[in-house]
Amino acid sequence: MSQTVPLATVHKLLESCAAGHTARNTTHAIKVTYNGKEYPTLPSFNNVEIGYIRSMVRALEISKECANRVIPNLFKIPKVDKGQQK
């Protein structure tokens, strides 16, 4: 079983969560830059497996909370008990 999202949704994630990013097609992939970092291996298929997106979000240090708003449940983020907060 695979889990994919449309490439357009990946671009929406970048627009929403990675202001100032660039994304351009190379012969074999999409090269994304953000935050002074590069992710040059994003597949350019019409539908992208979620693992590639998780890898890109981690590598570029994009906010996971923001990414989850665009692609729900992309990351499991532990909830912090307010009673444990200082």
Binding site: H28, K37, T41, G51, R54, S55, R58, A59
Partner: protein, 161 residues
């Protein structure tokens, strides 16, 4: 299912504009059984690459292909060997703090006995990370005057333990 830290070695020979580059990568990756039921191999060193398969071997094979295609892309845009070398090193050296942390946590879990190496990883060579120093070497093969079959390097995958 625990995460599995691995080391790998990959050698590629890449044609560029007027140059021939030998690229030998000794890297680290983290295998994760994701909720899509596939084995995902997330790059740690280098950290901006990933691929997947129904088995770890398939994922490793696909990651090698993705990495080779990246080298092809870099060669297309690098007009000299020096530019190619610089871009490949930049890709390798870009840190990925989160994947480094996840890799170290997975290794700690195995060493402390919180997790054990089970199938399908129990059939993969085990190795200590300190015996697998990571790094990347980019050699101008067009300048090399000595070639021997003994210089061939097979792709290798080892489970960190």
């Amino acid at each position: 299912m625990p995460n599995y830290p691995v080391m790998f070695k990959i050698r590629e020979v890449i044609n560029g504009e007027g140059y021939l580059a030998g690229v030998t990568l000794t890297g680290r990756g983290l295998f994760v059984k994701e909720d899509d039921d596939n084995w995902w191999l997330y790059g740690v060193r280098p950290g901006a690459i990933a691929d997947f398969g129904t088995t770890p071997q398939e994922a490793f094979g696909k990651l090698q292909e993705r990495y080779r295609n990246l080298l092809f892309d870099i060669a297309e845009e690098a007009s000299t060997f020096e530019k190619f070398k610089s871009e490949v090193e930049k890709f390798y050296e870009q840190p990925n703090a989160e994947e480094e942390e996840r890799w170290s946590e997975a290794l700690h879990a195995i060493r402390s006995g919180q997790a054990e190496i089970k199938a399908p990883f129990d059939s993969i060579e085990k190795a200590r990370p300190d015996n697998w120093p990571t790094g990347i070497s980019i050699v101008p093969l067009h300048q090399v005057k000595r070639f021997t079959a003994a210089d061939n390097v097979p792709s290798t995958l080892a489970a960190a333990a």
